[in-house]
Symmetry: C2
Subunit: 487 residues, 2 copies
């Protein structure tokens, strides 16, 4: 059975829920596949209206959703209301994305029979993957990376039915969220929900599942990839895994507010963000203020005893470094103390790669350096991250670092903190392994591309072509026609 | 040692070449990586001019290239001259693609500080993968899918250095082609070439290799995937593997020229095309003419004794079917007879999936049907193909098949034959497993996307942004600005 727990008390909360058995997974996938037939064929405008209805339903039911999620995650009203808003906003955003139509990448090449060999008429666009999308919900965002998350919103927007494997950290929230979303869908079967670890294993091996989205740990991601590798037909695995998110404070960086900004980013949500700043390279003169800021910080309960235990052993792993500061644990059964460690650049480099492994939670390492020119060689040895941040007032000082940082991370942040991930057209939330398993993103407009595949139509009769590929362009989507992009 | 053979005589041709040892692979990758530093940073216009110089060099040296390739492949002057032209054309085409700049998918979202939370300035574009691209050349196109092929052209266009593992079927042609291409590159090291099976295994496991392109068989592709799976850091594997390319002749199809078109497509290049029409669903009335056309056809030598042996056993595997026609083997040590088999739809369906496995070479099966409505159920059970073709004069007759064919194949062809693959903006040469390992294409403008990954820049200073992401858009590339696509 699946049981939610209250991180403030460590005690069970809510009803026990049955684990989904194999037959249950089969039924959810089969129902989703069947409901998907109409959905994938529905015009973008129709899908967009449904996505907006989902956003409305989430907003309308926020009063029910956040208290339940708060009991299961202890993330608090403000954060959870904000997260429901983010989730609703994401559904609205993907409605915009599919109305725009550029996501389909319509390309039309007219025939040219004067050439040898003659060039046929070829038209290509992206269409939804044929089967069901499997999504693994994350622990740390019970709405925005869970049943109401970006994977689900982008897959539905693409035209794919979805089956979500709920995260055991918020099973009740998952069930309620699914029922709220289903109330706005043309068929409730478009969104399946399964509970329990084994259900996830069956899901990724199901012959009708065409792709899998996942947000979680490196070991979790590797386990799912291994299961997918056993399939007779491989399918894409879009995993967003671990990330240390290096921050480089350059000598020219403005010191005002720097330490406070760092501590706030570090301890946000008890440090349970994929984009948590786990590693800071800084001149020695900032160390004292960073230490003071972390000492003054107060932790909040972590999401589960398993995550709390992981943090505890992660922090122990760093005990060879100098402990610079310890914050307050704060209230709650699973509350932990924020920690800040320090070491110098040479010593850090000598302990790579182990020292730079992600420690999920409010812990970070300040690596002090003396000469900016020593940084690129060490930065080049870091594993892939979702983000890399530079603090500086002088861009010229940062110039020698840009290329190495762009090879290390998928998003480069200037004079900010990596923990916020805006849902916009340009956002990229991905990066080199192990931060992501592919070059795709899980946040932002292009997240929809994960659930699409191209079809080319050669000399195909106009009456059988999708609207996006017709010369008259009835939907007004961006088309590249004979090499020229236009709307 | 690596030795080329003349398919007309079965005898060795050209010098023996040493197999590249591990140190040789390391050296080629290291040199490519180093040469790639300048290349990936070079402006698109500069890369475009180099690609055009490569095209010029290939064209200028055609008189040397085709006779050498002919000795190693027996594909003949006309075909090989055409293929050099195709290869040169492909380099020119990718010059156009990178000058256009749309391939970089530049997206700019300006900041909006009035929102809660405030929206940062985020700019995203695709940039070359950080390391070296490994390419496995194919047997059947000694230029267009080999050292001068689309994988190399698109990877260089993307800004990536390349190391090619030569195909053992044309080792001398590979060496000469590499030297011709290098003569036009700013650094010869940008294009490495390694010989021998083991060199390929080292190549895909090399830590500096970021992606692998491959055109070949399903077992070959699986073997490379298994090697990649052993890497500590996974990398994308873009394999274009087997395909049977179903053709559906509907009752309304024009009969004139149909059988001749089929036989020509079937026997082109001795059937050694990934897009060879290996399976035809047709009404019984066309069978006789198809049989006559194949009987009247003459084969040419296959590319190697291994491929010839594979064809022979493939044809034996089909001996449970009715042999409908046998063409002439033609001249040459490794020449084979074209074969046409037949069976009815029920019997075919009963023998799935084995009966529909690709038999590489000039062999096909005509599956006769009586009722069009029986087709979708059987078509749905076929494995993925690169193409699916419909012959009909009445689009309405084909309408019930479009969705199932679009799930089966990456390119749908109307009243044509699948063997030609035009290099255009819209071409898609890919499809569901096993025809391809990903949703990407190996031919056409979007083939470049395989070698690119997104980087997002948040609140990044203008002086450190790539030109493609600057507000002034100095290169005039397509940009999506605040959600609106424009040039």
């Amino acid at each position: 059975m699946i049981q939610g727990f209250d991180p403030r008390t460590g005690q069970p909360t809510g009803l026990e829920l049955p684990e989904t058995d194999r037959a249950g997974v089969d039924a959810a996938v089969a129902a989703a596949l069947e409901a998907g037939r109409a959905w994938r064929g529905a015009p973008a405008e129709e899908r967009a209206r449904v996505l907006e209805a989902v956003a409305d339903a989430l907003t309308a039911r926020a009063e029910e959703l956040w208290p339940l999620a708060d009991r299961e995650t202890a993330l608090g009203e403000v954060r959870l209301r904000g997260e429901i808003g983010r989730s609703a906003g994401q559904f609205r955003f993907f409605a915009q994305v599919i109305r725009d139509g550029g996501y389909a990448e319509a390309i039309i090449d007219h025939a040219d029979t004067s050439l040898t060999p003659p060039k046929p008429d070829v038209r290509r666009m992206l269409r939804p993957l044929p089967g069901v999308v499997g999504v693994f919900a994350a622990s740390n965002f019970p709405f925005a990376f869970s049943v109401a998350g970006g994977d689900v919103a982008s897959a539905l927007a693409a035209g794919c039915p979805v089956v979500v494997k709920a995260h055991p950290g918020h099973p009740g929230t998952s069930e309620l969220t699914a029922s709220v979303i289903r109330s706005a869908l043309p068929s409730a079967d478009l969104l399946g929900l399964v509970q329990g670890m084994e259900s996830g294993a069956w899901l990724v091996q199901h012959p009708s599942v065409s792709a899998v989205g996942f947000t979680g740990s490196v070991p979790g991601g590797k386990a799912i990839q291994a299961l997918i590798d056993e399939r007779p037909e491989p399918i894409p695995f879009f995993g967003e895994l671990g990330s240390v998110n290096p921050v480089v404070v350059l000598p020219s960086a403005r010191r005002e507010g720097l330490a406070q900004g760092f501590a706030a980013s570090l301890t946000l949500g008890s440090g349970q963000f994929c984009t948590n700043p786990g590693l800071v390279f800084a001149p020695e003169d900032v160390v004292k203020e960073f230490a003071e800021a972390v000492s003054a910080s107060t932790g909040t309960p972590m999401l589960s005893s398993r995550i709390r235990d992981g943090y505890t052993s992660g922090v122990e792993r760093l005990s060879s470094l100098t402990l610079l500061a310890t914050g307050q644990a704060g209230e709650g059964a699973w509350a932990v103390e924020p920690r800040l460690f320090t070491t110098d650049l040479d010593s850090f480099a000598a302990q790579l790669p182990a020292v730079a492994e992600e420690c999920f939670g409010p812990s970070s390492i300040v690596v002090t350096y003396r000469d900016v020119s020593d940084l690129p060689g060490v930065l080049a040895r870091l594993e892939g991250s979702l983000t890399a941040t530079v603090h500086a007032t002088d861009p010229a000082e940062a110039a020698p670092l840009v290329e190495v940082l762009a090879r290390t991370a998928g998003r480069l942040v200037w004079n900010g903190w990596p923990t916020g991930v805006a849902v916009t057209w340009a956002m990229h939330h991905g990066g080199p392994w192990p931060s992501a398993t592919t070059t795709f993103t899980s946040v932002g407009a292009t997240a929809i591309a994960r659930w699409l595949a191209p079809t080319a139509y050669q000399d195909w009769p106009a009456e059988l072509l999708p609207q996006e590929l017709q010369d008259s362009n009835p939907l007004g989507v961006p088309q590249r026609v004979d090499g020229v992009l236009s709307r």
